[in-house]
Point group: C2
């Protein structure tokens, strides 16, 4: 219904525009499409419970939201020059590095893109586990970079030893792409194995460690950020972080990379200029100063994850223990049927991410959303669907 009415509005606008030479859409179309501005249509399937993009369903900090609104009201028409410097100072303090080691990005995806452009310029081969977050790979393919993948183990673990052996056999520069914790598995790599590999690798092996889910993993004693290696002087290493996950700011587009000053300067020159928005900058600054929200966000995720895994245990559905805000789990059916059935229950899940069918990566919503989801999942069991 929603889609159909949206579609008809689109057609209406399209038809109006064809054959006219108006710079602006005519007033009649403005009226007809005024609801395009309204929140109801802002996002595809806004009425559905969205558990497919690893977003933070809690929303961002109230302080962040207020700061963002204030910033666009006062400065939405201005290039955010000084504000960027202040955010850099704050992120640098937060990570205890000098600001010169930061690359701010329009989401960490922009930093990933800059790293790939950098790797392409040195004719590097991309080496990564499979499955992993696909953005680096797709950017690499767009830049004609050769891609080599090493499959995860039987328990979806990233096999560092195999990756290392593969790296040692490849000729020339390599970009090693490690998402840690990994998406879509939620697994981490052992901190000592990772540290040893990076420490002993040749300087033309560039390591990109995407730590988008870092904050969810810090309680795991086998996990460590790769940041200390940069602090110790490694120049062939880039760590990326994002405000999209724990801080609930996916729609605000703020992320960053950290690298040695020389590497950071290079990557910064490969990013777009003026790449952060007034809203994003203000929200990021406020988020870094709101420890209460951070703790609330982390705790809500832990509680909701427990609700989810308890149900999966109860239903004997295998899952991969997660260090993130999502869980990869068995569904005892093909993903396509499962996705359609969930959709019929107003829950958006899915996208095939594993070699074998029968798995789904579910985003951890709020505790109440997970209660709704697990209730639906249990009803599926009663119907013999999972």
């Amino acid at each position: 219904m929603h889609t159909n009415s949206l579609e008809s509005r689109r057609n209406f606008i399209r038809n109006l525009a064809i054959g006219t030479s108006l710079a602006f859409l005519p007033a009649s179309s403005i009226m007809a499409s005024s609801s395009l501005i309204a929140p109801f249509n802002f996002r595809k399937g806004a009425a559905l419970l969205p558990l497919h993009y690893n977003e933070n369903s809690l929303g961002m900090s109230n302080n962040a939201l207020s700061a963002a609104k204030e910033a666009i009201t006062l400065y939405g028409n201005r290039y955010a020059d000084g504000a960027v410097d202040e955010l850099k100072q704050l992120i640098a303090s937060y990570n205890q590095i000098p600001p010169e080691q930061l690359i701010l990005g329009n989401g960490s995806t922009e930093v990933l893109g800059a790293v790939v452009t950098y790797a392409a310029s040195m004719n590097a081969t991309l080496l990564e586990p499979s499955p992993t977050f696909g953005d680096v790979r797709s950017r690499a393919k767009a830049r004609n970079v050769k891609v080599v993948q090493v499959e995860l183990g039987d328990n979806f673990e990233t096999n560092i030893e195999q990756l290392k052996q593969r790296a040692d056999k490849l000729k020339g520069p390599i970009l090693v792409n490690l998402c840690n914790p990994n998406n879509p598995t939620g697994t981490i790599v052992d901190k000592k194995l990772l540290s040893n590999w990076i420490t002993n690798a040749p300087s033309n092996h560039i390591f990109l460690v995407d730590e988008a889910y870092h904050e969810y993993a810090t309680s795991n004693p086998n996990y460590s950020s790769a940041l200390p290696l940069i602090k110790n002087g490694k120049e062939n290493l880039i760590v990326t972080r994002t405000f999209s996950k724990i801080f609930g700011m996916a729609g605000m587009r703020v992320g960053y990379g950290i690298a040695a000053p020389k590497t950071a300067k290079k990557l910064d020159s490969l990013s777009a200029s003026f790449n952060l928005s007034a809203a994003g900058i203000a929200a990021a600054k406020a988020s870094l100063l709101d420890k209460e929200f951070f703790n609330k966000s982390l705790n809500a995720n832990e509680r909701a994850k427990a609700l989810l895994t308890n149900t999966l245990d109860e239903l004997s559905l295998r899952y991969i223990p997660s260090n993130t805000n999502f869980v990869l789990h068995r569904i005892n059916s093909d993903l396509n049927s499962y996705t359609q059935r969930m959709l019929a229950n107003n829950i958006k899940v899915g996208r095939r991410m594993t070699k074998d069918d029968g798995w789904n990566r579910i985003s951890i919503g709020t505790p109440s959303q997970m209660e709704a989801f697990t209730k639906t999942l249990k009803s599926f069991r009663e119907k013999g669907w999972v």
Copy 2:
């Protein structure tokens, strides 16, 4: 004063962070730096009248601002998938092209960067007039692209014939960068000369026509967008547009490029994924539907420009007739002294942009801002400074 107190806060935060291992800044620093969130410090020199970045001092449309606030309140934590599609449809209708020919960017600067990455991948040489907007050149240098510049004529006109001759002599692929109207001169190139060159150029001469100031120039009968050439099927041409100028959204980061479907697809793959923010998308959509604001914005600029040029005429200060929201004019002194004196009067101007000293590119503020500026300028004349 303002700078000093900001600086001391920065040092305070920096000192707090040194030697600690806290993930979060301590509560005391949160209190000390809470004003970092406040609007007063959001932008460097926020108390100054900013006439140096070619921003739209009017601010964005109220509808755009409301839509942006609503979008981040409801969807700031979500990836803006469906909303991007809707914006694409709307921009496509606005320009009467299919959505497949659009490249959305985090500001048009991101599209410029993607074009340079594309050009670098084919080992193209960058050819451009000088002076012009420096972003393409700086991105080219970062990607080791050779840069060839052709100086503007005595009246700051872009010499198409000389550029063409230079292009014909260069070997291999070329990226021709034309900002039209040009920044920092405000001049346009004759529509027939431009159209003839692009139409007859070999296919490995790629034309990038940055039309950031397009809307201000359409009343000039010698100006035309290069868009009709794309509609006629040219594949070696990219036109870029922005919401930063006429729509007053510089801090929202929304721009776009238009090209043949094949070229657009390639450039899209070279941009960051999820590159638009919820606030930017909502504001851009609302802006395209607010013709009243568009007219108000254009009219205010015309009135303020007349106020400015009347005063320049009165003071016999030469200026280049402008097709934009800025004017390049003589200041009868060195730029450094002039900038300092304006700063002492709380007006931010400056940055050297021309080969000869003694010129300033002034952004056209609101009519009342231009009254304040011209009053100051006249007082400078009384003091013998201009």
